[in-house]
Symmetry: C2
Subunit: 341 residues, 2 copies
């Protein structure tokens, strides 16, 4: 059978998305990402699968929602799009805005953003505005600014973002032929856990899967408002993509956990970095925030997902690695260095 | 129709690859990458499609060949794998070796390597050896060292690498329902153009496509041995992935161009960076080497491919961007900055 190429989440799952014939499809053919078996599950008796979202066009799961949100912005003839972001959302928004030919404004906290993630926004021609504030204040600001400026807000408070993100749940069901028993997921702004849960419910309602997973939300210990039950004023964690103290989709996350009989838990930065290391040692290279779900699932679950590519946050690994000095370009020197001489 | 998830190039194209039931499949579910329409073709009357190989698991097309080469190394019970690399190959080799549980040695030139590409090798546990030599000497060295050390060489001189890389040609035919008229491709070590041409011929021979494309190989002007007809001792170009003076697959590239009625041409660094910029302005973010093919095709062809993700070589864009200073976190300041106040 001749393979059929993936067409992007809108064309693959159009009947589950708010598209009409009049909606332009702004796509980079996102989605269709791998579900990879991890060896890390075996010692704890789990079959552990990793949804490797890094293979999306801008390197993270954000592209799933952005294709929908920017398509809808284009349909509505928006003047442009705007978002606050610590990195992954900015890269995705900039790319899809460029694809649509729409101006894009990225409001970023002046510190704490991974440089690798801004490069893409710059390249795609976005206007980047660094504000003297943490992420949560920046998000408040763009929520206020968007309607006043005639711009479409594409943070995950935009419901079209979550509509697109739920397609990852569809794909997991399509890959397994059923829903997983457990879905563990990193929780920062909480849009993704909210979207996955909606996706699993919707796919079951449509008769395409027969069961629902238990939802396990994993936060970083220094940025764990949902686990602690109250906002965190100064969230701290090495996992920049989930360094958020007041999740925009707080209620959605709590609903997902409650309805699914799941749980919330926190992983320390040490546990997160250890999981990042262990995954890389089997060829799965992710950013720290993504590894948080693995750190959590090793105690907890049966299937989970990773959200972003390791390349997006390279300084964490760089800081812990020592590149040895160059050696002479001889066979002898190489043999000696490999201790095989 | 419920979407079928992509299984990786080995399972999708097994009948075209050297696999038996005894060959373990070492995979990160590579391939299945998007073919994206570019607006850049319109002004020159072309339908320009971009094969966006950045969405492979380690961020470049190298994964296609690495899944085959490392699977065969595992089948042969190799002691480990080794390669010389300027970056993309190193990242891919390290990831697939880790996936297979095999040791990996990466021999890199001490200068001229994009840092972002080494991060992944470090994370995946490879032994990284920087040698005081350019790429071409490093490649000579590993070709000599591999058999002596009992390691499998996974540079593109390994025929299994090229066997895997030809699957990109299959995918283009499957996406279009036919072969393109022209395939433009960056040429460094020349393995990729060799593999694509083999792929198009093989797919036609199997009756899965009816025609063959014209092959256009694009080199950087300061590293254009094939265009000039002789090796280049000190290749220079901003496009590090094709900064190669003595291509290992020289003959393969010349054969592809000759048999297909194609051509070879060189793009300047300025043309390459301009093409990188223009692609990013429509949401397609690639490294300079990948943009070389676009710089070439704007004069030449009808369909082409891009090889690596922009994130892999971020310094080029960083060097040309000026991040503005942070502003106060107020609506007024943002409006003013966006010139909308």
């Amino acid at each position: 059978m001749q393979p059929r190429m993936w067409r992007g989440v809108v064309e693959e799952y159009r009947e589950f998305l708010p598209f009409t014939d009049a909606t332009p499809v702004i796509t980079l053919r996102e989605g269709g990402t791998p579900l990879l078996e991890s060896r890390l599950g075996a010692p704890v008796g789990l079959r552990l699968l990793v949804k490797y979202e890094a293979t999306n066009p801008t390197g993270s799961f954000k592209d799933r929602g952005m294709t929908v949100a920017v398509s809808k912005a284009a349909e509505a003839r928006a003047r442009g799009i705007i978002c606050a972001s610590t990195g992954n959302t900015a890269a995705s928004a900039a790319a899809y805005a460029a694809r649509a030919g729409l101006p894009c404004a990225l409001i970023i906290p002046a510190s704490g953003v991974a440089l690798g993630k801004l490069v893409q926004g710059i390249a795609c021609g976005a206007t980047i505005i660094a504000v003297q504030a943490a992420f949560d204040r920046a998000l408040d600001l763009v929520r206020e600014a968007a309607p006043l400026l005639g711009l479409t807000l594409v943070n995950s408070v935009n419901p079209h973002r979550l509509a697109g993100q739920k397609t990852a749940a569809f794909e997991i069901c399509d890959a397994l032929g059923r829903a997983p028993q457990t879905l563990a997921i990193p929780v920062g702004n909480a849009g993704n856990i909210t979207a996955y849960w909606a996706g699993f419910k919707e796919y079951r309602a449509a008769g395409r899967s027969k069961s629902l997973p238990r939802m396990v939300g994993v936060q970083a210990e220094g940025a764990a408002p949902l686990v602690q039950g109250h906002p965190v004023d100064e969230p701290r964690t090495v996992a920049s993509a989930i360094r958020i103290g007041r999740p925009a989709s707080w209620d959605g996350a709590m609903t997902a956990v409650r309805e699914s009989g799941g749980t919330l838990l926190a992983a320390t930065d040490e546990e997160i970095l250890a999981a990042q290391d262990q995954l890389a040692r089997e060829g799965i290279f992710v950013e720290p925030a993504s590894a948080a779900s693995v750190a959590g699932v090793l105690k907890m679950g049966r299937a989970h997902q990773l959200t972003g590519h390791g390349l997006k946050d390279p300084e964490v690994i760089q800081a812990r690695a020592n590149l040895p000095a160059p050696i002479p370009a001889t066979l002898e020197a190489i043999s000696e260095r490999l201790s095989l001489g």
